[in-house]
Symmetry: C2
Subunit: 72 residues, 2 copies
DNA sequence: GGGTGATGTCAAATATTTTGGACATTATCC
DNA sequence: GGATAATGTCCAAAATATTTGACATCACCC
């Protein structure tokens, strides 16, 4: 559960669609660091459900609009 | 991000609705231990997104059909 | 050319999740 | 009464996520 999880994400696209919000700015908003956002965008590990919810809700969308399960 | 997260879950109900699947059995199926299932059902911490996806998909439902965000 | 913002990488430290094992309780079944 | 399955608790440890700080690159602007 740590080596490139089978999860896709659209964080980067959502940032761009929302006025080019920077990784650092998004991190501040959802309460994590810039590095965490980078790691999530690069699918280096799977974030906590709480962090995932915060990101989705900030963009005003559902969890599965941000994160996808490979194998669906 | 560790003291009783603002996340609700219906794991227990889903287990019961699926033939009274035990915590241990569910754990085996999704690849975590019995203790992890207990902790999740009791909202002791927020699981990884990967574990969350595995649970939801085993029951054939979406992430937000299992986990909810308090504040929605 | 010198600033600034955004992204990325690396490594080490800290925090959180997950595990493994031992033990208690309750209910059921024989 | 003894056996077994299911849930729960506690604790220590291993594994993974997250933080912090330092540094590199690229693009843009002045």
């Amino acid at each position: 559960m740590s080596k490139r999880p089978p999860i896709t994400n659209r964080v980067r696209q959502l940032r761009e669609e929302h006025g080019g919000l920077s990784q650092a700015a998004l991190g501040d908003i959802v309460g994590v660091t810039r590095q965490t956002i980078i790691a999530i965008e690069q699918s280096r590990y799977s974030p906590s459900l709480e962090t995932s919810f915060r990101i989705a809700r900030h963009f005003g969308v559902g969890l599965e609009d941000v994160f996808g399960w490979e194998g669906d």
